[in-house]
Symmetry: D2
Subunit: 139 residues, 4 copies
Amino acid sequence: MPLVEGFGFSTEVRVRFAETDAQGIAHHAGFVVWLEVARIEYLDRFDGGYSSLQRSGLEALTLEVFVRYLAPARFDDRLRIQARCTDVRGARFRFEYLLDRTGEPIAEAWTAHATVAARSLRPTRTPGWLVDAIAAAES
Amino acid sequence: MPLVEGFGFSTEVRVRFAETDAQGIAHHAGFVVWLEVARIEYLDRFDGGYSSLQRSGLEALTLEVFVRYLAPARFDDRLRIQARCTDVRGARFRFEYLLDRTGEPIAEAWTAHATVAARSLRPTRTPGWLVDAIAAAES
Amino acid sequence: MPLVEGFGFSTEVRVRFAETDAQGIAHHAGFVVWLEVARIEYLDRFDGGYSSLQRSGLEALTLEVFVRYLAPARFDDRLRIQARCTDVRGARFRFEYLLDRTGEPIAEAWTAHATVAARSLRPTRTPGWLVDAIAAAES
Amino acid sequence: MPLVEGFGFSTEVRVRFAETDAQGIAHHAGFVVWLEVARIEYLDRFDGGYSSLQRSGLEALTLEVFVRYLAPARFDDRLRIQARCTDVRGARFRFEYLLDRTGEPIAEAWTAHATVAARSLRPTRTPGWLVDAIAAAES
């Protein structure tokens, strides 16, 4: 997977104590939450971000999640999450991620999504302003 | 606190691995989730339970939470949660809890709640059918 | 993916209110916790289960997680999780899952794991008793 | 409760989507996690912070939690958490908190703790360097 290069966006999370488990490491389910934090911050750069999507009566559903854990993360670690949005088509889009701790790879991941009408949860074409903003950000 | 006696209801939770932390014990925030699980199961015994409350356009908000941790719980522990509902007045009600592991006290707790209109989140009198069901259960 | 057939094990989770999100559905990260709950119960059937693994100084790490969400789950839904363990080789093993709500597919998933020494988190051959128990269960 | 005045420390959390629930608001259990985030950042200002406590073979247990919810928090809200440490005596100490959203009170809370030996989880006098650092910070 050519996940290592070509990320134009990154954010940081700090491992909370509540996110650790009895193995003494960050529990693997917490990574899925961090990916979402990264997506929200990725979209923040655009006109109104995720809230703007919601104001147009849309939500983004998660259709697929994949995470490959490369090294344990621990309490208080500051993890950089690089993210990029790819394959925006119709109602669908996809994110790819690389998590590292000062350069050491911690996890790689991708998620697949669809924009849906908030009430019915039915697939609805991703709004043009968002498609354009993503295309500009990733070009 | 006379929490030890007089519980007519109990349920059980089993500590999930995801609920432990790097101290090797169940993280203290998870107890607050378990209290909610107990409340839902407490209400299940009544006509339609919490879902019935929701169908009448109501939700129950949590106004206050208190937990006193008496002994650590660990992965895979089966905890009994005894619960009772008290002080149903107007839109308000209160739950008291005792958690134990085969008789050993693990935590005691209480929570305060209000029934609210689902849209506005404004306090709304607890429906008579629920007040009566609780009164019957706790008498 | 031939995930639909051939499961010899299943368990049930009930969607907690704390596991829902502002889309009104079960948050996608919670599924990863439920898969772990299913694995623990899967292993419970064997001699001492996961705790027995821990008593021999081992832990099981999660190396990869994949979830495909097929339909939203909601508060209070009772979800059946079918699970099977496959590809036990050296220190590695893999689980496959199918989640349904009274027959309606909700999600399919797989996870990859390694048994490791608890202190060093280094890969360590899965104990023979567990390999044999899994082989017997899945044959 | 004179919680409103006299806080010398504050930090900020941003409500994650995963922390919301089907009422459309931040789930009440998440506040307990945020209090912990605030404590960790409070201690960060001192020599080595919480990690330093751990390196001396100690952990801090949570003995009691109280939260009073004053107004709902919502997805993406930035909440200021003011915190102060009080009543450091022997192995025990206590934190008080006030959460607000640009001045609007969202919750008030307090938690009680004990420093314990990491292995035995038995109460152990809070180290002098930490007692002194807290006293200096709160004077």
